[in-house]
């Protein structure tokens, strides 16, 4: 089974958070706000296209929008396989972190 790195994890989570409105700038803003990581759009799209080839996300082009000079957005959605992979990875992390005082507040 495919695993993913930290960058892919962040991008995948951000896509899930944005629900139906997941495109570049939104993902970028979410990661900057919540993860305090300043990723460029190029890096984000590179990661997304890698996730897409692994089958963890799908994408579709939206309608051209006026405020972007008539340019279409590319929306992303997490697939079931993506969810499952994320689930496994995060629970593994949680299991490993359980009982350790690593300075995290309880959820």
């Amino acid at each position: 089974m495919d695993t993913f790195g930290e960058l892919e994890q962040l991008v995948l989570l951000a896509v899930m958070q944005a629900a139906d409105d997941a495109y570049g700038v939104v993902v970028q803003t979410a990661i900057r706000r919540k993860a305090r990581r300043d990723l460029t759009l190029g890096t984000i799209y590179k990661t997304l296209s890698r996730l897409e080839t692994k089958g963890f996300v799908t994408s579709e082009l939206g309608e051209p929008t006026a405020e972007r000079g008539g340019r279409a957005k590319r929306y992303y959605r997490v697939t079931a396989a993506g969810r499952r992979a994320l689930q496994q990875q995060l629970s593994a992390l949680r299991a490993m972190a359980a009982g350790l005082d690593i300075g995290l507040e309880a959820p």
Partner: protein, 873 residues
């Protein structure tokens, strides 16, 4: 907001089509948001970054991840040239310094290599050797033909032995008679040397007889010069000394005779042992032998000494001492020139070392200046390797320019050097400039400069960068400063060596020219004329012609005295005979003291202003006096034959005289005969009429009123008018003859002076460079000192102390080096000890003076530093 920023529109076509809209749209959105929230500057900066990364990940043109090595090297070279253009003084000084050292080094190497190191152009040249008899003091002397025959038949370690005699025939053509340099050789001579003919064939054994001796072999240059390189020359008869000979062969182009330098025409020797002039004492031949391939030279030498012992036992009166002298051909042929050539080579290597030290020094200084650049480039991600490659590109540019300039210099120097080599030196024709040497020297020099001068700087910078301690360039430079000072100290020491050499050589030459020569050559002109061929069938005809020549020369206006002589003092010739006092018969006639024989027609002593110490000069009547048979001898010979007695009217025996005894009628002052520093002044002056066989050629000496050079032409024309078919050579003033006799020393001196001058200049530049660098690094410090009350004098002292300390250490090392090495010049010195304190300290004083001058410029700059300006910087 439909107006996307220009940058986005610019990169839009470069983004992959499937992500183009998504990404560029996002870029616009991002930019607008940033513009609102964070202002124009941040928005713009972020846009640049975003655009760059977008292109990197989704650009249709992939940015180069791996560089094209050729293209990046070209970029390096162009960058290097730009750097060099920015610091033109650095580049120019490096290039000129390299050229000034590399040009002469390559020229000298090109001259020395064929003379001393390159194998002779013969087969297995390491197995060729001369065989000399040994003289009374064990020194090598020529051999007689019978001795050579005996060696040939008795030796088992030699595969062949050939005898060679000098020969100067006249090529008789009606319009252009020419005296040629040649040799009479045994038929197996070229077989011994293992040289095949280019055209025709070698001599055969039946041609090496008295009757069959009618053939010729031509050297390649003569064949081209006089026979238009005509291949149909083989079989043609040409006239030599008026007698026809058939050309049977032409030697290859690269043939070069070291046994008889400059020989270009060869005929068989045609001797048999029964001939009168083939005797053991008739030592006028040179023996050349080939040692068998499987025999080491040492074994052959031992065998020859056994043979010599047998011969001396059988013919005790024919040999002055036991043993043959077996000398490797190349070594022996060059033994006269070797010390001078090696000294010159050593000198130029010192110049090269100094130049390299200077270039290293310049690079060290440059590397301090460029530390910031290296640091910035390292910070931007340039690898150490990348920086090294950059430097290699720069170095290549400098090396190429230096080599080009040096090549031009060497090209001019080689012919100038060749023209100053002694004319009797063999292998001159093989000298030509090796272009590869120039390039190799340039590349090696620059490589050394880069490795020592630049690479450590890069390594240090990188280490400093990674460890986070970027120090100021000035502080970093202290280690460098020490290295640079050490280099300058070395330069001064080497320069002093050269200066001492130049001083010793010039002192020697001064002393040589100061010597009493025993004759006065000023206002004397000389030329070699001859009377040979069918028009001069006997001695009477030859001597009559000689008197006609003298009369013609004497008739030229301005000519006061004339004479003809068989040998010219200091002219390079040698003609010696064992002479005996009749009242003191010798048990061993072979040990008779040798004296130089001058056979004269006319007033030789008077023309040359050789003083008559006792008795009288030869007169015209003496040539007809067959009873007394008068002779004049030199003071040295008188002292040797009749020590403490009055030699006048004593009788002596002179070999080859027509008479059994000759009467001493006068004693002449000693003169220098072979060279200015030749102590052997034993000589006799004898009327040519009393000799068994007068020479066909003689030297005319004429004393003129006024400028001798101006009279040369008129006298030559007068001599030629007697018989225009006879060649005249060596037309020059006696002063010129004297000067030429010291050609080798003069060449050595000229080069040492030139190299020493260059070395002093380079080391002065080194002193200046180091001090100027340190003054500019210490500007602030000197400013503070001045502000705190240091006077101009103090500042001068500060700089001068440093410079003179370097000079002082360098001079001490140099003096020690000079004491250790000048003895290698010994054979070129005369009248001065290799460690002559006047020369050594004089040279040191000169160098100290020059160093002081080099210190003054930076010192003055330091003294003029304005403390306010210095501190504000």
């Amino acid at each position: 907001m439909t107006n996307a920023p220009r940058l986005v529109r610019l990169i839009e076509p470069l983004i992959r089509a499937d992500f183009r809209d998504a990404i560029t749209g996002d870029l616009v959105e991002r930019f607008e948001t940033d513009l609102e929230q964070r202002g124009a500057v941040v928005a713009q900066l972020r846009l640049w970054r975003e655009s760059f990364m977008a292109l990197r990940h989704f650009g249709r043109l992939t940015l180069p991840h791996r560089e094209n090595p050729v293209r990046s090297f070209i970029a390096d070279v162009r960058y290097g040239l730009r750097v060099l253009r920015r610091t033109p003084s650095f580049a120019v000084v490096c290039i000129v310094t390299l050229a000034l050292a590399i040009g002469p080094t390559a020229a000298i190497l090109s001259v020395v290599d064929p003379l001393l190191f390159r194998p002779l152009p013969y087969g297995r040249p390491d197995h060729l050797a001369f065989i000399w008899d040994r003289g009374g003091n064990g020194s090598p002397i020529n051999t007689g033909y019978s001795t050579i025959e005996d060696v040939r038949t008795r030796s088992t370690t030699l595969s062949s032995v050939a005898a060679v005699a000098r020969w100067q025939p006249t090529l008789s053509t009606p319009d252009n008679p020419e005296r040629l340099y040649g040799a009479r050789v045994n038929w197996n001579y070229f077989r011994t040397l293992a040289v095949p003919m280019m055209l025709g064939r070698d001599f055969t054994s039946d041609e090496d007889t008295q009757t069959g001796n009618t053939v010729l072999i031509l050297g390649h240059r003569l064949w081209e010069r006089r026979f238009n390189a005509d291949s149909s020359i083989i079989g043609r008869r040409i006239s030599l000394d008026g007698a026809p000979r058939t050309v049977v062969g032409v030697l290859p182009r690269d043939y070069d005779d070291v046994v008889t330098p400059n020989a270009e025409i060869f005929a068989p020797l045609g001797y048999v042992t029964s001939l009168a002039w083939a005797c053991r004492m008739c030592r006028h031949l040179t023996a050349v032998a080939r040692v068998r391939d499987d025999v080491p030279l040492e074994r052959s030498r031992a065998e020859l000494n056994q043979i010599s012992a047998q011969l001396v036992a059988a013919f005790p009166k024919d040999y002055p001492s036991v043993g043959f002298y077996l000398a490797p051909l190349q070594q022996d042929a060059m033994k006269e020139a070797r010390p001078a050539l090696l000294a010159i080579l050593g000198a130029v290597v010192l110049v090269l070392l100094i130049a390299v030290a200077n270039v290293v020094n310049l690079h060290l200084a440059q590397s301090i200046r460029r530390e910031t650049e290296f640091a910035v480039r390292t910070a931007l991600g340039a690898s150490g390797w990348r920086l090294v490659r950059q430097l290699v590109a720069e170095g290549l540019s400098v090396a190429l320019a230096g080599a080009a300039l040096g090549l031009g210099l060497a090209r001019a120097l080689v012919p100038a050097l060749v023209s100053r080599l002694p004319a009797t030196l063999p292998r001159r024709a093989a000298i030509h400039l090796e272009g590869g040497v120039v390039m190799t020297l340039a590349l090696v020099s620059v490589a050394i400069a880069l490795v020592i001068g630049m690479v450590p700087a890069i390594v240090a910078r990188r280490r400093a960068l990674y460890s986070g301690e970027m120090r100021s360039a000035a502080r970093h430079g202290t280690g460098h400063a020490r290295a640079r000072a050490a280099l300058v100290v070395g330069e001064i020491a080497l320069a002093l060596l050269l200066l001492c050499g130049a001083g010793l050589l010039s002192m020697s030459l001064v002393r040589l020219f100061d010597l009493d020569r025993g004759f006065d050559g000023h206002n004397v002109i000389t030329m070699n004329f001859q009377s040979s061929g069918p028009a001069y069938p006997d001695n009477v005809a030859v001597l009559a012609a000689r008197r006609r020549v003298l009369a013609a020369a004497a008739a030229v206006p301005g000519v006061v005295d004339v004479a003809a002589v068989t040998l010219l003092p200091l002219g390079g010739g040698l003609d010696r005979y064992g002479v005996m006092a009749l009242d003191r018969p010798l048990d061993h006639p072979e040990r008779a003291p040798a004296a130089t024989g001058y056979r004269v027609v006319g007033d030789f002593l008077k023309t040359m202003r050789i003083r008559v110490l006792a008795g009288r000069d030869l007169t015209e009547a003496d040539s007809r006096d067959t009873v007394a048979n008068p002779v004049v001898i030199s003071a040295s010979l008188a002292q040797r034959l009749w020590p403490g007695e009055n030699p006048l009217n004593k009788r002596m025996r002179i070999p080859n005289s027509r008479r059994a005894a000759s009467t001493v009628v006068g004693v002449a002052a000693d003169i220098r005969q072979r060279s200015l520093n030749d102590d052997d002044a034993r000589a006799f002056y004898y009327p040519e009429e009393h000799w068994i066989f007068p020479l066909n050629s003689a030297v005319l000496v004429a004393r003129v009123n006024g400028n001798p050079a101006a009279a040369l032409h008129a006298v030559r024309a007068a001599v030629a008018s007697v018989d225009p078919s006879q060649p005249i050579i060596g037309v020059r003033t006696m002063d010129d003859v004297v000067s030429r006799s010291t050609a080798q020393r003069q060449l050595a001196l000229l080069l040492f002076v030139a190299f020493a001058g260059l070395a002093v200049l380079l080391s002065a530049a080194g002193v200046y460079g180091v001090l100027a660098g340190s003054v500019s690094e210490r500007t602030k410090e000197i400013g503070v000192r001045t502000a705190l009350g240091a006077t101009t004098r103090d500042t001068y002292a500060l700089v001068l102390r440093r410079g003179l300390a370097m000079a002082g250490v360098g001079l001490l090392l140099g003096l020690a080096g000079a004491v250790a090495t000048t003895r290698y010049l010994q054979s070129l010195l005369f009248g001065v000890a290799p460690t002559d304190p006047v020369v050594l300290f004089g040279a040191a004083a000169v160098l100290l003076g020059v160093s002081l001058l080099a210190c003054l410029v930076p010192a003055r700059r330091a003294a003029r530093i304005d403390p306010m300006v210095a501190l504000r910087e």
